[in-house]
Symmetry: C2
DNA sequence: TAAAATAATATTGTACACAATTAATTTGGA
DNA sequence: TCCAAATTAATTGTGTACAATATTATTTTA
């Protein structure tokens, strides 16, 4: 591949990721509209349905989001009465997120979403598994790169 | 997989896409900071470097972005004097985007980016090719789904 | 144990995304 | 030809992302 080929949009893996991610989020939208939540809010709900009460930071670790993103998002979920936010008693720096009854009950309405979505993408089960495997590998590598970049003295390598 | 398994974050292909896409964008950031542009702005520059002058709509078709996103982004690129915006003379609805000399010259500084980035992800060449192939397939299928949804009378299927 | 370092969250500011609406222009019939 | 439909961008409003900073609470350490 020559220099110009390397810069062609179609040759950018990053663009495929970027575009596919947004297109998939677009497929979620009509399903999540029925629940009255956005796609990032849905990811937060998934984490809470799976793990129960978590602090803002623990949610952020799992979703790779910081408080700048999560704080306003969680306030919106609180306004919808899907979660409750409260300072931890043991450590008053932490803000604990707890599902309300409404929020916990929403899980029942969500069970059908994953399958509907895979179906709507038009992917075969084999294709789904392959892609998930490859993306999982990339994801794990990227997590390593990220944690490596955070080590002291490694800020200039990237 | 039972119902609860289906809703686990780790089982969501969409989350892998979403997280990996943002992490990759994070790897681009230090490289693009040197050029003074953001990742979506870089994608616009890629399209212009590849195709020359294009209308706002043509850029949007290639990047799957609408004028609500592109108009302010392009105004920022114009302020940096990387592009020029001007109404088409043949069709005054269209706004043509043209690279300035500075914008065209920036391509030379970008040639090294794709390889640096793949290297920084830690992916092998084989892994890169496999993932790109699988993502390409998904992308093409999603494009079909999207165009299908746009056909009259198909709004409720998704 | 008091000051310094660290940690957790919130806030501020900039830049996307995208739905919905608006405005201007072009096009295609009746 | 004239006008309704379609096309193209811009605008408005909401909701992420994320860097940088601020704030408050905890932990370390001198």
């Amino acid at each position: 591949m020559n220099r110009d080929e390397l810069l062609r949009l179609d040759n950018q893996l990053c663009f495929l990721l970027y575009a596919a991610s947004r297109m998939i989020a677009g497929l979620y939208r009509p399903l999540l509209d029925k629940l009255g939540i956005t796609y990032p809010q849905y990811l937060v709900m998934l984490v809470l349905w799976e793990h129960g009460d978590l602090s803002v930071g623990e949610i952020g670790t799992r979703l790779h989001l910081d408080s700048g993103t999560l704080t306003p998002l969680l306030k919106r979920l609180e306004k919808q009465e899907l979660i409750q936010r409260s300072r931890s008693l043991e450590d008053e720096r932490r803000v604990m997120i707890r599902l309300t009854d409404t929020g916990a009950a929403m899980k029942a309405s969500a069970y059908s979403i994953p399958e509907t979505l895979i179906c709507n993408t038009g992917m075969s089960m084999a294709q789904y598994r392959t892609l998930k495997g490859e993306l999982g590998k990339l994801f794990d590598q990227l997590k390593q790169v990220k944690s490596c970049a955070k080590e002291p003295g490694n800020h200039e390598n990237l």
